[in-house]
């Protein structure tokens, strides 16, 4: 790694002040599993001059249920979320997603907010020593269009001219399905709106904004949630496609549902087509299959990733069936 300044913040104010002082030349570090990898590989066109460590800030690591919602501190480790019995029972999609992220060691280090705010995955973008000066780095083109795009977006580019990278978070689709909201030092917004389509960023957060908490409303009575992930390996792997669903049933028919796919586009993708297909219907296998097809009706696969469309359809189908019990 190249040299940088390390600032250990003791309060949110101190961290925000440090971020302001450095402008966009500083990065936050919590678990560090994404940012340190990027710095070691030297993939950032603007190497951070300072890292602001927020792990020393008291009161950002907690897990509690309050007034019908689950409150999770930004620094709560994924492993603690995956293991918590209340979350496994009531917010199963989140526990399953946290438990399938990376490897046990990385889950002991990585935080929930860090998992949401991690950078996109693309092997051109992430190639060591900044070998491919792609769109995101101020270069002229997206290398995935003509190159090997087997793990790239099946739902089109994020901006004109490209960026077909995908967002690899496992917890993001689960939190979208569970209708969670993110609290930052500046605002409160639904997790769904956290992700940006801007070429320079992956979230809508400002450079001096810090996520402090994630709140998940208690699921309605009669609802169930599930998370499924397709990856090459069971551990230490990013998803090729993942899918989370929360379905509430009344009198045997679907009253409401939220289904979200990730790793298929630069931001988590809400499968509105699937939600519409199953609304007010009794869930069975043909219906779930039709929902899977409807979810991906707008898919625009590239040269090498047509298989991901089929994987996504099957995951939507299985997630719906898992919620039906």
């Amino acid at each position: 790694m190249k040299k940088f300044t390390h600032i250990s913040a003791r309060s949110i104010d101190e961290a925000v002040a440090a971020l302001r002082q450095y402008g966009d030349r500083a990065c936050l570090i919590a678990g560090g599993t994404d940012i340190l990898g990027k710095m070691k590989d030297d993939i950032l066109p603007r190497y951070p001059e300072a890292l602001v460590d927020i792990k020393g800030i008291a009161g950002l690591e907690f897990l509690r249920e309050e007034k019908g919602s689950l409150r999770i501190g930004a620094l709560t480790r994924l492993e603690d979320i995956a293991r918590e019995p209340r979350i496994r029972e009531k917010y199963s999609a989140l526990a399953q997603a946290a438990g399938r992220t990376a490897s046990p060691h990385l889950r002991e280090m990585g935080t929930l907010a860090g998992n949401l705010c991690q950078d996109i995955r693309c092997w051109y973008y992430r190639n060591p020593n900044n070998r491919f000066p792609c769109l995101r780095k101020g270069g002229g083109r997206c290398y995935a269009i003509e190159g090997d795009n087997r793990y790239h977006s099946i739902l089109g580019g994020s901006v004109e001219g490209g960026c077909y990278a995908v967002h690899p978070s496992d917890t993001a689709p689960a939190l979208v399905a569970l209708n969670a909201e993110v609290r930052t030092t500046k605002r409160t917004l639904p997790v769904e709106d956290l992700f940006g389509v801007d070429v320079a960023r992956t979230t809508v957060l400002d450079s001096d904004e810090i996520v402090t908490e994630i709140r998940v409303p208690a699921p309605k009575a009669g609802s169930r949630s599930a998370f499924l992930k397709f990856a090459i390996r069971k551990s230490i792997d990013f998803p090729i496609v993942n899918c989370a669903a929360m379905i509430a049933c009344r009198n045997g028919a679907v009253a409401s549902s939220r289904i979200c796919l990730n790793a298929v586009a630069v931001r988590p993708y809400r499968a509105a087509g699937a939600e519409k297909t199953i609304l007010k219907k009794r869930i069975d296998e043909p219906l779930a299959e039709a929902a899977g097809i409807a979810a991906l009706s707008g898919a625009k696969p590239m040269g090498h990733n047509g298989y991901m469309v089929q994987v996504a359809r099957v995951l939507v189908k299985r997630a719906i069936l898992a919620c039906a019990g």
Binding site: H6, A17, G32, L36, S103, L106, I236
Partner: protein, 202 residues
């Protein structure tokens, strides 16, 4: 001129923090008089980048650079070469150490962030006479042996939390450790046996 600067807004970062108590002040002069007033009787403050770290029960006070990883501190600075570095990207588990009870990857942890932490390495586990070491040898859980310390440390962290793990729990806990020689089937056997020995010893 620093003395003419307006009072900083609340929470703003000024470049004049007190080296003793981190209170931020408006100017160098203000820091000087603050130090004379409040901290005159105290010994000199520690230089920036000083960490107090306990490794295998032994306390160390070290000066570290911001870009040092915990692995570098343990392996190169303290000379505890049992911890191994393979991928250096958090993808193989070879550099696992236990920090405050959690098995973490020392290659993806900054040393400067380990101030006040309790670290346990494979040397500490061996010195404590943990049955895992003996069982790993008996069950021949290694060929080249490079990944073995990472497996042993991860297994120790598991046994600390769960004294009677099932084979499935063991496999899941070791999910972050890679072995190129493919010794995987032997690990659960050794760990189950070590857990049995620990339970009988109680």
């Amino acid at each position: 001129m620093a003395s003419k600067k307006a009072a900083a807004p609340p929470g703003a970062w000024t470049r004049y923090p007190c080296p003793y108590c981190r209170e931020t002040l408006d100017s160098v002069e203000a820091v000087k008089s603050h130090v004379l007033e409040r901290h005159a009787a105290e010994s000199l403050p520690e230089p920036e980048g000083t960490v107090h770290i306990t490794v295998n029960g032994q306390a160390h006070t070290l000066r570290v650079e911001p870009d040092w990883t915990l692995y570098y501190l343990i392996h190169d600075v303290l000379g505890l070469t049992g911890t191994k570095l393979m991928c250096d990207r958090g993808a193989c588990g070879s550099c696992t150490v236990i920090v405050n009870g959690r098995p973490v990857l020392s290659c993806m942890t900054l040393a400067v962030e380990c101030d006040g932490k309790q670290v346990e390495t494979v040397e500490g586990i061996a010195a404590a006479g943990h049955p895992l070491i003996e069982e790993y040898v008996k069950h021949h859980c290694m060929q080249c042996g490079f990944c073995t310390p990472g497996f042993v440390v991860t297994a120790k962290a598991l046994l600390d939390r769960n004294g009677s793990p099932t084979e499935r729990e063991i496999r899941e806990a070791l999910g972050g450790n890679l072995c190129r020689c493919g010794t995987y089937p032997q690990h659960p056997k050794a760990i189950l046996q070590a857990a049995r020995i620990l339970r009988e010893a109680k």
